[in-house]
């Protein structure tokens, strides 16, 4: 049996736990023995990209510790892959964490520990796999009954986040995942343009951020006119930005995390009606 640890990300944890639950179902359905290291909090990316590296490092160290603990108390060599439900957070761990933790240890005067923190962060970085990348790599044939419920013509608009696209180089896995789920992904015009979130930028500059989102939503409108039934992303940050702007504009177009869509496809309940039902559920009203 394949073991894996789930890196749920603070945003999924707090704002859309259903996406995490869906990922659990999807992975367990594929025979994964899943652990959830309960000591995980946040990768620190938001603070990191805002320039607050001391705070980011404190969160980063906690993340490293959390995933070093394993229920099957395996030795470091056979620690399982860490499946991340956010491309952006996966990129943070893989690309920034080792240097951040080393630099922060040096800053705190913990010179002997600095190399150790780098090594520990690198070990975690090596284990992190983004969710759709994992599905793609395991070429998980959809379990029985899957996709059969989905009409072949069901179209979904797909947005791939900037860090997933550029730092992880993962543009195809989410599209292939969607096709395996029996839906036709529609990429937006200017697909590689940022959704407008941008971490602290989106909070400091709400108007510029929203103007960027509105440009994205104009392209989404085109996809909708071509029959897209919902907007899917493997990054909840982008999805909250796009969805939050949609509802602010009085538009209830469904937005779903990729894991939710795969879960529905697995169960053969992937229909436009069902998508609307799942998407409209608020995190707090489950």
């Amino acid at each position: 049996m394949t073991r894996a640890q789930l890196f749920v990300s603070c945003m999924v944890d707090l704002f859309r736990p259903r996406a995490g639950i869906a990922a659990v179902q999807v992975l367990e359905r594929r025979g994964v023995e899943l652990e959830f290291p309960a000591a995980q909090t946040c990768c620190g990316q938001f603070a990191y990209n805002a320039g607050h590296h001391r705070e980011a490092a404190a969160m980063g160290r906690q993340l490293v510790r959390a995933f070093e603990a394993s229920g099957a108390n395996g030795s470091p060599v056979d620690r399982p892959p860490v499946i991340a439900l956010s491309g952006s957070c996966a990129a943070m761990v893989k690309h920034e964490m080792p240097e951040l933790l080393e630099r922060d240890a040096l800053r705190r005067g913990r010179t002997p520990a600095a190399a150790g923190w780098r090594r520990r962060a690198e070990a975690l970085a090596g284990r992190v796999v983004e969710f759709s990348e994992w599905l793609d790599g395991h070429d998980a044939p959809a379990p029985s009954g899957a996709a059969s419920g989905a009409p072949a013509s069901l179209k979904v608009a797909c947005h791939t986040g900037c860090h997933m696209r550029r730092l992880l180089g993962l543009t195809e896995p989410p599209l292939r995942t969607l096709r395996r789920a029996g839906v036709e992904p529609l990429e937006l015009v200017d697909a590689d343009q940022c959704c407008g979130f941008g971490g602290s930028f989106g909070l400091i500059e709400p108007e510029i951020s929203a103007a960027m989102t509105d440009a994205k939503l104009a392209h989404l409108a085109t996809a909708r006119s071509e029959g897209a039934t919902c907007l899917v992303s493997a990054d909840l940050g982008c999805l909250m930005q796009l969805g939050g702007r949609l509802t602010r504009r009085g538009d209830e177009f469904p937005t779903l995390h990729l894991a939710e869509l795969v879960d529905m496809a697995d169960q053969g309940r992937l229909t436009a009606v069902e998508i609307g039902r799942v998407a409209s559920r608020q995190g707090g009203d489950d």
């Binding site: 603070c10 707090l14 909090t41 603070a47 320039g51 969160m59 343009q193 940022c194 103007a211 989102t213």
Partner: protein, 481 residues
Amino acid sequence: MPGILPPAGAPWPERRRRALGDPTMREAVGKSTRSLAEKKAAAYAAYPLGEAMRVRAVAARREALGHTDALLEEFTRQVEARGGHVARADGPADVGRYVLAVARRRGARRVVKSKSMATEEVALNEQLEAAGLHVRETDLGEYIIQLARERPAHILVPASHKTRQQIRTLFDDEAERSGDPPPGGDATPELTAFARRQLREEFLAADIGITGGNFLVAETGTLVLITNEGNGRMTTSLPPVHIAVVGIDKVVATWDDLAVLLQQAPMSGTGQLISTYTSFITGPRRPGEVDGPEEFHLVLLDNGRHELLGTAYEDVLTCIRCGACLNVCPVFRTIGGQAYGSMYSGPIGVVLTPLLGGLAHAPELPKSACAMCHACRDACPMEIELPRLILALRRTEIEESMEPPTVRLTFELWGRFWAHPAGFHLTARLAQLGQRAFMQKGRLTRAPGLVGGWTATRDSPPVARETFHQWWRRTRPGSPP
């Protein structure tokens, strides 16, 4: 020595407001940047050698930076050996003083210029006009911007934010001022015909031609100019005096280095394999030569550059001013160039403006004009790690306490709580309890503090009644921690 940049003009909120409130400009910028970015991608795709040369070009530029002083000395020797003059300028005032001294000695009244970011940087036009000289920009885009009394809105295509209709209006006004016939219409050929007619007179009457420079080749003392309109050649050959103002970062060692660099700016900037005109200028006219100026002056501009050598920011000096990072930047596409308050806009402007002019000169740029999407990093032919440099500037601002204390406190508390599971869960519980007051129809529509920035323009789902952590604990009670 730190450099000096012209003032940003209006404060940031005002510049931002103007930009967001100008749909015509935003549409024009969106269109031109997308088109340029597509042309760049097509150019490299169709010309594999371009990529191989790019890699060598990066190495050549970085290598040159390691020997800047020696290369500048060699360059100076070579120019002087060929009868040219070389001057060093620490900052804007030095450039102005030098050019005005030449103008006075020559009794010059009229100046023509070809497009130059270095002279924008030192506000040379303003300096010369204040001394009573007549200055005319001869690059079509710069000419338009000069008539509009604006700053270039793009490093490469300074008037790309203007529509043909707006340009026609500017030209009509100019025709009225000068008593010349106005353009026949707002079609591109009619507009360029008008500009050509006007500028021809300027070229013929000019006493001094001023240019920038794309590269300097140390081994022969050659100034390299890349242009598309031919105005650079007119500027450097018709007036009796040619003065080039060039940043010290533009020097490369050899023609071999130049050979791999030469195509990168046009390929990355406009998708051209080579620019329409590539001029190599080595000193003034020599006996027996039929063209070229009587005097050739090269002003090497520092303005904060030398200080960057050997620092984490050094690579920014390899920039070839192609504008590729502007063309892919979602923030630039949204607010256009003038909102940056600097002749250097887009991602390179976010880095270069505070580095040359000081962080206090543009404290808003690193945090407000970048969404950390990394598109610029992929677009930059010189592989400048722009996102990393922007992040370093954000960090510096925090270290130098340039941030509001409330923001600082928010991050400190946040870091303290979220570095431990107990603190993390406590904040989740508090949010679950306290958020009702901020909700409407099941969504957070306003919020205190930093998060209020989010809810200003977007809704947010509330913190779930049961978080994932709580769900896992409830449904898998036996599972290991």
